[in-house]
């Protein structure tokens, strides 16, 4: 089951609206497919991200995957703790493992994301 208060991209990122900012991470589905995450590359605070363009990388022994921005905007915060403990992505993907907070240029882009039900259907869960 996927948290219903979040919106989801087809590339397995989640977006959480917090007032006029959006917090971003990856879903349990993506984390499970990667298996144990060992490394995350995040953009610098202040840099721009563009809707569904890569903003970073998440890496496990098995694979390297691009991270895609679910909204366009400016990076206001990055989760520095992930550099020390990237493995929380596997254990707490929606909480401690948030990756960036974005000041979005157009909240309307969220309308292009999936809700929890549609995302669950996308990844083949009931």
């Amino acid at each position: 089951m996927y948290p219903t208060e979040l919106r989801y991209s087809k590339e397995h990122e989640w977006a959480k609206v917090e007032g006029n900012r959006v917090r971003v991470g990856i879903t349990q589905f993506a984390a499970d497919r990667l298996s144990d995450v060992v490394y995350v590359e995040l953009p610098k605070v202040g840099s721009q991200v563009a809707f569904m363009q890569p903003f970073g990388v998440v890496e496990s022994v098995k694979a390297v995957s691009d991270l895609y921005a679910p909204v366009s905007g400016k990076v206001a915060e990055i989760n520095e703790a992930l550099a020390q403990k990237p493995e929380v992505i596997n254990t707490d993907p929606y909480g401690q493992a948030w990756m960036i907070v974005v000041e979005p240029t157009d909240l309307g882009e969220l309308g292009q994301l999936l809700d929890a039900g549609a995302y669950a259907a996308l990844v083949g869960e009931p």
């Binding site: 060992v38 490394y39 890496e59 022994v61 098995k62 390297v64």
Partner: protein
């Protein structure tokens, strides 16, 4: 499950890190039945193998095994394998899955009529129980005292959980442990019996992912990544397996020359400052110049570093020297490391 050398193999059961840790602290059980087993019998068997491999099988006692590369006439490594001396005129070669067909063809091409060659791969399952508690766990399933099977020795026909098993104290993880050869038809029961008794003690099934992180930490090479027919044993730290005094064998003239004149590239270990992973083929640079390429790389869960192996020009290849690996356009700094990255704690013999 992924395709691997013509077989379907599990990358992981519960998770690579967890399986790796289980092997280092307790035990992990691997299904490595994809490995090839080639049976050689007859008066020509020992001389044939002696001519084909670099190590000296003439010194192998019955019940003993050794590790060796097998080279082309140009000194390139066709495969690396174990040779088991089953009897005076009976040897078993255990080869990499991806090379089984090629190894068989090479052996057959060089064999005379005085050697019977059989591919036993399809009939033979191989399970590896590896870790500091492997012996304790396996001992629950057999009356044969396992402590009497010494490193690189084996006993055929051991009753393990009611099945006849060739028990060999060998492995690919850097831990103590056993490799268990059994008729393919009995593999599932043996697997289940080991896990049934082992799980309560912390043993876990382990897949290819952990197999790779474990062997890399132990400084063990993987054919197809670290070596292939384009490199010789002298270039990849396997000069110790090349016994030039034993007589002629495939590749000996080239290896003799390399021993005398040195080699133009060397396999080294390295550890990176960041946790990002160096992958096969990534460039290695020193002082801005490309000096070689990564052959294997991963994250070592026990040493908690990103580690790897690479083939580099010999100039600045000593442990402690700096290097950089280009990963996704960035030069990630690191240092050349002495191998192995990990050595198991030496306990008193049990």
């Amino acid at each position: 499950m992924v395709p691997f050398g013509g077989w379907e193999m599990p990358v992981q059961y519960s998770g690579i890190m967890e399986e790796h840790r289980a092997v280092r602290t307790c035990a992990g059980l691997f299904d490595v039945s994809h490995m090839g087993e080639i049976d050689l019998a007859g008066p020509g068997a020992l001389p044939l193998v002696q001519r084909l491999v670099t190590n000296d099988v003439g010194r192998l006692a019955v019940g003993q095994a050794l590790y060796t590369p097998m080279c082309t006439d140009a000194g390139g490594i066709i495969d690396d394998l174990l040779v088991y001396r089953m009897g005076d005129e009976h040897l078993m070669l255990v080869v990499n899955a991806a090379n089984t067909a090629e190894d068989l063809a090479w052996i057959r091409d060089h064999a005379g009529g005085d050697t019977r060659i059989a591919d036993r791969t399809a009939d033979t399952a191989l399970l590896a129980l590896q870790g500091p508690r492997a012996q304790e766990i396996l001992q629950r399933l057999t009356a044969t005292p396992l402590s009497e099977i010494r490193y690189f020795c084996f006993t055929p026909g051991v009753d393990v959980a009611g099945r006849a098993v060739l028990v060999s104290r060998t492995g690919y993880t850097g831990e103590d442990g056993f490799e268990l050869y059994v008729d393919a038809g009995h593999a599932v029961q043996l697997w289940s019996a080991i896990l049934e008794t082992g799980r309560g003690s912390g043993a876990l099934p382990a897949g290819l992912g952990a197999r790779d992180t474990l062997r890399l930490e132990a400084g063990l090479l993987l054919h197809g990544s670290d070596m292939d027919q384009s490199v010789s044993p002298m270039e990849v730290g396997l000069a110790w397996t090349v016994k030039l005094a034993k007589g002629e064998f495939c590749g000996a003239p080239v290896l003799r020359r390399q021993k005398a004149q040195g080699v133009s590239r060397r396999l080294v270990g390295f550890a990176l400052r960041e946790r990002t992973i160096a992958r096969h083929g990534f460039p290695i640079r020193q002082d801005g110049e490309t000096v070689g390429r990564v052959t294997s790389g991963s994250f070592g869960p026990t040493v908690r570093r990103s580690i790897g192996l690479g083939l580099v020009s010999p100039g600045h290849a000593e442990p402690g020297e700096p290097l950089a690996v280009e990963i996704r356009g960035r030069g990630i700094e690191g240092t050349i490391a002495k191998l192995p990255f990990y050595t198991r704690p030496q306990a008193s013999a049990g």
